[in-house]
Amino acid sequence: MERTEIFDKVQEVLVDALAVDDDEVTSEATLIGDLGAESIDILDISFKLEQTFGFKIAQGELFPEGVAQNPEYVENGRVTDKGIGLLRERLPHFDFASIESDPSVENIASIFTVDALVNFCDQKLQAA
């Protein structure tokens, strides 16, 4: 599937799941910061992506859970090197540049962009 086609489908999913306008769903928009997604929306988005693209998403595959609560991965409000390593390994579809320059926990949300979601779907479709 072409990347533009994947983007269009992801955009449709986000418009439906987050009740946003399609022009708000740009590649750079962050799901949590810009589009207002809450934790339960991630589950909703997973369901809708599965339905749209026909692949299965395991729990924690799209966005890992429990990282912020684990002292090995987060210390004094900052993601440790080990934590960044884990995220990088589990989320090959994300761009980690902004986390490396500012590893605060609040900044984790900034890597969860529409583009990362398109990468995720692209990689899943290619692996199928």
């Binding site: 934790s39 339960i40 589950l43 369901f47 429990g66």
Partner: protein
């Protein structure tokens, strides 16, 4: 008043579909405030839309809970869609049909059709579509980043067990 917004389960296809009904009654206190009389008109008792959504949440919630033998704490996490087109008045019957769309370890999404039956001199009317309500449920213990909750399943109370028993549906054992 008990927080029960369905009266009986009339059909259950495990992991697939549940149909429940509710009789709207003038005995329900809130109908006397929704909407009460004022200086220019008599009272207009109609079932609040939020409680119609709750009726679907209970119908779909029982369906999702039944899928795992009521071991999961099934909580309503999101109302994905709620479109209600008709009013339900005392004497009307509401029929909720909930179907499971997706079901995983983390939770479930459901679709719901709500229909309205009214009594006439010839009996119950043909159903009219009252609305559609789609929901997302979370399996609480599997979604809160390791946060723990009481072991006891506080979501499915004894009152739900009574409802299911009356409906001929096997639910969970009597406590103790």
């Amino acid at each position: 008043m008990r927080w029960m917004w369905i009266d009986r389960v009339v059909e259950l296809v495990p992991r697939e579909k549940l149909v429940a009904v509710k009789q709207v009654s003038m005995a329900e206190d809130h109908l006397h405030d929704h909407f009460e009389a004022n200086s220019v008109r008599r009272a207009v008792p109609i079932m609040p839309a939020s409680l119609i959504v709750e009726g679907m949440a209970q119908s779909a919630g029982v369906l999702v809970g039944h899928a795992e033998g009521f071991k999961e704490k099934v909580v309503l996490a999101k109302v994905s869609k709620a479109e209600l087109e008709l009013d339900a008045r005392p004497g009307d019957t509401i029929r909720y049909t909930a179907t499971i769309d997706r079901f995983t370890h983390a939770g479930a999404s459901t679709r719901g059709l709500i229909e309205l039956f009214s009594w006439t001199a010839d009996g119950l009317s043909e159903p009219q579509v009252l609305g559609r309500v789609d929901l997302i449920f979370s399996h609480l213990d599997n979604n809160m980043g390791g946060q723990t909750f009481p072991e006891h399943n506080f979501v499915f109370s004894e009152t739900f067990a009574t409802l299911l028993s009356l409906s001929g549906v096997e639910s969970y054992p009597v406590p103790g």
